[in-house]
């Protein structure tokens, strides 16, 4: 560990977080998915070692190689301790030893390692974390922890959950991986489509968790969006997974993320699309989104992500709210409704209807949504209803709807938003 650097002013941003995922990917590939926890522990150990030594010695010239070496040795030590156990096999030990030797002869190679290999290892890890046999919520947490290198406390902060709850979710997921012998590998072509569908779902959940204007640490939530985009981007880059649907998902995330700077005010309160300062939208992200939307069009499959991305693109490329082409957007929502008749889609469609045919038509579209107890508790439904009533001049109905929305609003920004709406109802007529 003698290398010392006198010229490393600082570590690359998020280096540890990204190295965590990279090293766990590699160790999980060598050790196998059932030893995912062992891989994680070895990497965590290496990082804590760095925390102990680097303050005194400075960062090594090749931090990645340093961390990898310590993590491999740790994994090897732990693996040797398992020799007596029934599932022990020499092969893994042999492979680990080879890796360590390779590291010693090439030295710096860790940072120069063949990027395709790195990408494939990560892909394999993503596939096991997002396995359809795991609950989606567990997959989201596991992907964040293992692939993205987030800490349990950070995940809890982003999800407004407790560390214990997240920890349990992770432990259960890893137990399932072990018990069902899920494999850390890219699935066969025959299964790829289905497996990839689950991965896309998890990535989009991860993104929306970050995007949601709920309370919770905004910085961490922005990181979630960035990670989801980074992962989708890595899938779009990999020839094994670069399907049009993947580009559509990536485009969708980029269009939405581009609006993040304009979406909340200084208090963290939500600013509606109508009132957003569009000059704050991230032009380069929108541009990138359009490029991926282009690539998404290269197949014959029209997925829900395609339609959502198209809708987001229409908003993103419109200079002012009043110029929005609602006819096109409604047509896209009509298509989306066929593929994905979720309450969110139906409510958004009703909003488009109201923009074209007026609030009465919007109300009728809302009324047509089949309401079960879960939809009934969805604040957005009542808020939209209240808004249409307000535009029709039905103040008392609007008030009732906004109050219902308030009953179900789960976060402070949502509550403040609705209270403002109620106050405006009682105030001077606009």
């Amino acid at each position: 560990m003698g290398q010392r650097s006198e010229n490393v002013d600082q570590l690359v941003d998020h280096l540890f977080r990204q190295e965590f995922g990279r090293m766990v990917s590699r160790l999980a590939r060598i050790l196998g998915a059932p030893r995912l926890a062992m891989a994680e522990d070895a990497v965590q150990y290496a990082m804590l070692q760095a925390l102990q030594l680097w303050p005194y010695q400075g960062a090594p010239e090749f931090p990645q190689a340093w961390l990898a070496k310590v993590a491999y040795h740790r994994a090897l030590d732990v693996l040797k301790g398992e020799r007596k156990l029934r599932f022990y096999d020499d092969e893994k030990e042999f492979e680990l030893k080879n890796k360590i030797e390779e590291l010693q002869t090439t030295g710096t190679a860790e940072s120069l390692r063949f990027s395709q290999e790195v990408a494939d290892e990560r892909l394999a890890l993503i596939f096991v974390c997002c396995h359809p046999e795991l609950p989606r919520s567990a997959s989201v947490a596991l992907t964040l922890k293992v692939v993205c290198g987030f800490g349990v406390e950070e995940i809890a902060r982003a999800f407004l959950s407790t560390e214990t709850a997240i920890e349990q979710r992770l432990v259960r997921a890893k137990r399932t991986i072990r018990d069902r012998a899920l494999r850390c590998e890219v699935p066969d072509p025959g299964q790829l489509e289905e497996r990839l569908g689950a991965v896309f779902e998890v990535l989009y959940l991860l993104f929306t968790e970050g995007y949601a204007a709920t309370a919770g640490d905004r910085l961490i939530k922005n990181d979630l969006c960035a990670e989801a985009i980074r992962l989708a981007d890595s899938l779009a880059e990999n020839s094994a997974t670069a399907q049009p649907e993947c580009h559509a998902l990536l485009a969708l995330m980029l269009f939405q993320a581009a609006r993040l700077p304009a979406r909340t005010d200084a208090l963290g309160d939500l600013i509606l699309l109508e009132e957003q300062d569009r000059s704050l939208w991230d032009r380069s992200m929108i541009h990138l989104g359009l490029l991926h939307l282009d690539k998404a069009a290269r197949g014959d499959k029209l997925s829900a992500y395609h339609l959502q991305a198209e809708i987001a693109a229409m908003h993103s490329t419109t200079g002012h709210f009043t110029l929005t082409n609602w006819e096109n957007i409604l047509a896209l929502y009509d298509l989306l409704r066929e593929k994905q008749p979720t309450p969110v889609v139906l409510i958004n469609r009703a909003v488009a209807v109201a923009q074209i045919q007026g609030p009465a038509a919007g109300l009728a579209a809302l009324k047509a949504i089949p309401v079960d107890s879960q939809v009934e508790q969805y604040p957005f439904l009542h808020a939209a209803e209240g808004e249409f009533h307000r535009r029709l001049g039905h103040s008392s109905e609007a008030e009732i709807s906004f109050h219902r929305a308030l009953d179900f609003a789960r976060t402070e920004p949502q509550q403040r938003f609705l209270l403002r709406k109620l106050a405006a109802l009682r105030g001077p007529v606009m």
Binding site: E6, V8, L11, L15, F16, R17, P55, G58, F150
Partner: protein, 117 residues
């Protein structure tokens, strides 16, 4: 100019599940502090000591006895040291004051290396 030892005392922190991002953040502050001193040509050395109580040697009646230094999770140990160059205690203390080591349950002892001037 004289050399000063910054002796970093601490209680061995119990294992805390720091996230990679948190670890990097802490390291970043140490690296920045250390590198600033390196650039000003004031950093002479720095080493971490192992997490144990070391060995204590004492001579008594011509016989040397060796014992393990006391060590427990709750007892303070010397975690490591830096040797820096400074004009006087005033400057050495100013440098030590900005060391990221200073925090709950940790303290720094500054000692001047005696030398003939």
């Amino acid at each position: 100019m004289a050399n000063f030892l910054l002796l970093l005392h601490q209680t061995p922190s119990r294992f805390r599940n720091l996230s990679p991002e948190e670890i990097q953040k802490i390291l970043g502050s140490y690296i920045a502090w250390r590198d600033a001193l390196v650039k000003r040509n004031k950093m002479r050395a720095g080493e971490k000591l192992t997490n144990d109580g070391g060995r204590h040697l004492r001579a008594h009646d011509g016989k040397v006895s060796v014992t393990d230094g006391p060590y427990s999770e709750s007892q303070e140990i010397l975690g490591g040291f830096f040797m820096i160059e400074a004009a006087d205690y005033g400057e050495a203390v100013e440098i030590a004051r900005t060391c990221p080591h200073l925090g709950e349950g940790k303290w720094i002892e500054v000692r001047q290396v005696d030398a003939v001037h």
